[in-house]
């Protein structure tokens, strides 16, 4: 009887260990998205102002994948904060050519808008992307700039 109880206890302990091991395995093997999309903080290019006295608000975004991808499309939107809600300012979408290899960045560094005056305004960027990976379209969720700094730039 004691022997049977000991075997039963051993089986229960084994099952618990197996479950926790499987649990660990599933968390480590959790499917990570193959691509990462990041967006920068809205800024004014200081070089442009110093050289040409040009003021423009600009937001850059980058995508990097750990698998080959084709037809990469990255969109960047510039928004500004307002008293009665936020306002869409400008949007640029760039469609990349050919295949991008794992670890290579694809950029959208072309989204900017001229400042009409030096009114202090809070800007942020929103970015989203899509790419053909393994024959299927993969979409990256909207990402927002981490900070919304005031810029001396009225648009």
């Amino acid at each position: 009887m004691k022997h049977q109880r000991a075997v039963g206890l051993l089986i229960i302990i084994s099952l618990i260990n197996m479950n926790s091991a499987l649990g660990n395995q599933s968390s480590t093997n959790e499917l990570k998205p193959p691509c990462r999309l990041q967006i920068g903080i809205a800024h004014i290019s200081t070089n442009l102002f110093e050289k040409f006295r040009i003021l423009a608000v600009k937001v850059n975004a980058s995508s990097i994948c750990n698998v080959p991808q084709t037809n990469v499309t990255i969109t960047v939107e510039i928004w500004k904060k307002g008293l009665l809600g936020n306002h869409f300012v400008w949007k640029k979408t760039i469609n990349s050519l050919g295949t991008t290899y794992p670890g290579s960045r694809v950029n959208n560094s072309s989204t900017y808008m001229r400042c009409k005056d030096k009114t202090s305004t809070y800007y942020y960027g929103v970015s989203y992307s899509k790419a053909l990976i393994d024959g299927k379209w993969q979409y990256a969720r909207h990402v927002l700039s981490k900070e919304t700094p005031p810029l001396m730039c009225g648009t």
Partner: protein, 110 residues
């Protein structure tokens, strides 16, 4: 290259950024009368088509936005599109279109 800093541009990209944005501003100044004429045509017919040596540009008005679709004339060049909100005031409508025309013709920062 630090991926955590998407604003990071190589010195070459910085140069290209300066060239493209400066070109855009120069176009807004030098081609203003042409762009203003184009703006009038777009506002009247809600569509305008133009060509540069690299791209074919289709400009249209959809709901509350101006849209530009830039299709390259070569398979080696990236296509792109631009969207801008339509302002209320007529003068601002023209001004936004002048910038849209200039940005599209200035090209991309690679």
């Amino acid at each position: 290259m630090d991926f955590d800093d998407p604003d990071f541009l190589t010195p070459e990209q910085k140069m290209r950024e300066q060239e493209v944005i400066a070109r855009c501003f120069n176009l807004m100044r030098d081609e203003r009368s042409r762009y203003e004429e184009q703006a009038q045509k777009l506002l009247a017919s809600e569509f305008f088509f133009s060509k540069s040596h690299n791209y074919e540009f289709s400009y249209l008005i959809q709901e509350d936005r101006y849209i530009c679709n830039a299709n390259p004339q070569s398979l080696l060049i990236q296509s792109f599109s631009i969207e801008a909100p339509i302002p209320d005031a007529f003068e601002e409508k023209i001004e936004t279109l002048v910038e849209l025309f200039a940005q599209s013709e200035a090209g991309l920062i690679h």
